[in-house]
Amino acid sequence: MSDKKPERRDFLFTASYAVGAVGVAAVVWPLVDQMNPDASVKALASTEVDVSSLKPGNTITVLWRGKPVFIRRRTQEEIAEARSVKMEDLIHPEKDEDRAKNPEWLVMLGVCTHLGCVPLNDKGDYDGWFCPCHGSHYDTSGRIRKGPAPWNMEVPKYEFVNANTIKIG
């Protein structure tokens, strides 16, 4: 009996499978998405830091979204050094002018772009940072110069709320 109408049977079974598969996918998504950052985590987007007591040549580390952020008040030598580097010498070419809008202040995530360790201040072959985990050297602009890390340290979104306060995020 069923052999007489093969098209209809095929259509029926195909449709059942297809609709069923859509349903399974729709059920899987909430189970996956529940592991993404939740609404309360996303809401904690910004943090404000008072930098009035920071002297040139010093760095403070603050916590933002669970990660360290380096805020460095750079000396004139460091700025000059960062700005004199030729683009072709860089692994990940970025101008210092783009990384530090206000040249005196460098704000960046203190996370090595290799595998996520926190680099050490004032260390390494380029007077910037050195990551002790696998030997990545960063310069005074936080750019990767030597070692396994593929990118420069990330500059987050930030702004000066006033002369003494930086808002990150």
Binding site: S2, V19, A43
Partner: protein
């Protein structure tokens, strides 16, 4: 198939009957038409916004809502204040933060990510300030009462003169809908106690409805998403059921046996 339907309906009816029978202190609650009931129920945004106003200007003096954040006020499916409005609301509250670099707590204006500021530090302080009765947290209050929204709505309008012969202690009030009829909260609402910016008359009935709607949302912020998803899910299941039913008929026709 019919059998299964019948069995389901019998069992469900029995279960629901026995459950409604549990909350047997039968007082007829006041009825009103709630926009959020039914398969497609949604909140009335204007009512939610007014309800928030009633909550902050009246209830919040004693009742906390510790599981809500100011950001919720601008989220989809809620009162849907604009983000700017929600930020302004948050900033109008002083929040304790800290410790700062000196190790001290400090006050700052609220942010969207902050939880609703509580009127009292803790339960003990709340009790002490209210004659020993803790004004319950309102975050999930609607779900925590057997009568739900109808109960809250009625309670707010249920203040009456105590019947003769009933002796009320100081600071105890008579309420028609309260369990045992004795309540420590004095009538919180009276006509015109607040002023609505949209020109709606702030009668006790209107305010009760608005604040109850607000509390319903507070307890069940995902209600609208739930109703929408539920409709889609059930329509989907019915379509798939029909497809599978005919597939089944077809497969079983090979053995010539009724299914």
């Amino acid at each position: 198939m019919k059998k299964i339907f019948k069995l389901f309906s019998t069992i469900i009816l029995l279960t629901l009957n026995s459950y409604s029978a549990i909350s047997a202190e039968k007082v007829e609650y006041l009825k009103t038409d709630w926009s959020f009931k039914g398969l497609f129920g949604k909140f009335d945004r204007a009512s939610l916004q007014r309800g928030y106003q009633v909550y902050t200007e009246v209830c919040a003096a004693c009742h906390s809502m510790k599981y809500l954040s100011y950001r919720n006020l601008s989220e989809k499916g809620g009162p849907e204040f604009s983000v700017a409005q929600a930020k302004a609301i948050a900033a109008s509250f002083e929040v304790t933060d800290g410790p700062n670099a000196d190790g001290e707590m400090f006050q700052r204006p609220g942010k969207l990510s902050d939880k609703f500021v509580m009127p009292y530090e803790n339960v003990k302080a709340a009790e002490a300030a209210n004659g020993g009765a803790y004004p319950p947290d309102m975050s999930v209050l609607v779900k925590a009462r057997g009568g739900g929204v109808d109960y809250i709505y009625s309670l707010l309008q249920g203040y009456e003169e105590a019947p003769s012969g009933m002796i009320l202690d100081d600071g105890v009030h008579y309420n028609k809908y309260m369990y045992g009829n004795k309540i420590k909260m004095s009538a919180p609402l009276s006509d015109g106690i607040i002023e609505y910016s949209d020109g709606i008359n702030p009668s006790v009935e209107q305010m009760s409805k608005d604040v109850t709607t607000f509390l319903m949302w507070a307890a069940e912020p995902s209600l609208e998403a739930r109703h929408q998803m539920g409709f889609k899910a059930i329509v989907y299941l019915i379509i798939l059921t029909i497809l599978v039913y005919f597939s089944m008929k077809r497969i079983w026709s090979r053995v010539k046996s009724e299914v």
